[in-house]
């Protein structure tokens, strides 16, 4: 499995990278939406999963979701917002733009894993 963690906080990227690595994911990182699009283009790979923060410089997570949904090769990538934005309307907006799931910060490790299980993205035999 391949994942990409998109967050402007290095600390948050490290936490999420560690969590995905424990689930046997190979992990890419980007500090904002624009950088993520560049990483995806330069590696030419389609991650199974993107964990996307909302508030980031240059290109927000919501803008990233809208952009990446326009790229047909990326359509099978599952998009999960992981953000402190937690108004009802914000979640509706992100889902309408094409995000598949939404985790509100602060999260626990179990919270992320529960959501990934829901999406069928926890590899069998890993707990």
């Amino acid at each position: 499995m391949l994942g990409i963690v998109i967050d402007d906080s290095r600390a948050m990227r490290k936490i999420l990278r560690g969590l995905l690595a424990d689930l046997d994911y190979e992990v890419l990182e980007a500090g904002n939406g624009r950088e993520a699009l560049n990483v995806l283009e330069s590696t030419g790979r389609v991650p199974d999963l993107a964990l996307v923060d909302w508030n980031m410089p240059e290109m927000t997570g919501l803008e990233f979701v809208i952009e990446v949904r326009k790229i047909s090769e990326m359509r099978q990538m599952t998009l999960m917002m992981v953000t402190t934005e937690s108004e009802h309307g914000q979640i509706v907006r992100a889902l309408a733009a094409g995000a598949h799931e939404y985790v509100i910060k602060p999260f626990t490790r179990d919270g992320i894993i529960d959501k990934l299980a829901l999406l069928g993205l926890v590899p069998a035999g890993v707990s």
Partner: protein
């Protein structure tokens, strides 16, 4: 723009702080005291996010240098003496971001949250603001003061 003074906002900062600490910082075995007494101990660093829109204000978390290194060491999973100034800024900024987003969700919407800014100055950086509420979290024997300020120019909205 300032907030309508007749609007009373009730923000349960204690509950929000408790969730943030228990998820990100407290491994479960350490004692964390929420709604701790405010001893007025000097703080060295302040991380803040601005709210702009239907609600105008700032969420500020301030603490000592030692306390900021503790936060960074837990978030980065490193020893406190290994963390760099950059790590401290990143970690404390993310703490303010997570607290700010949760606080924003209970305030009048829609508002936008700025990117976090961390600096070495204290309260006087937010002229024209009024303190709405504050809570003190005592973690690893260090106080962390979480304050919601209302009004004032959104002077750190462009912070990086």
């Amino acid at each position: 723009m300032t907030n309508d003074v007749t609007t009373t906002v009730e923000v349960d900062l204690d509950m929000i702080a408790e969730q943030v600490w228990s998820a990100f910082l407290n491994g479960g075995e350490e004692e964390t005291i929420f709604a701790a007494p405010d001893t007025g101990a000097p703080v060295d660093l302040a991380a803040s996010v601005a709210m702009v829109g239907a609600y105008e204000g700032h969420l500020v978390v301030s603490c000592s240098h030692k306390a900021s290194r503790d936060v960074a060491s837990v978030l980065f999973a490193m020893e406190p003496d290994e963390v760099t100034t950059d790590d401290v800024g990143d970690a404390l900024g993310e703490l303010a971001n997570v607290l700010g987003g949760n606080v924003k969700s209970v305030l009048p919407s829609p508002s936008q949250l700025s990117l976090p800014r961390v600096s070495a100055t204290g309260h006087e950086r937010w002229p024209g603001t009024v303190e709405v509420c504050r809570t003190v979290v005592r973690w690893r024997d260090e106080p962390y003061v979480v304050t919601l300020l209302s009004g004032g120019p959104s002077n750190n909205a462009q912070g990086v």
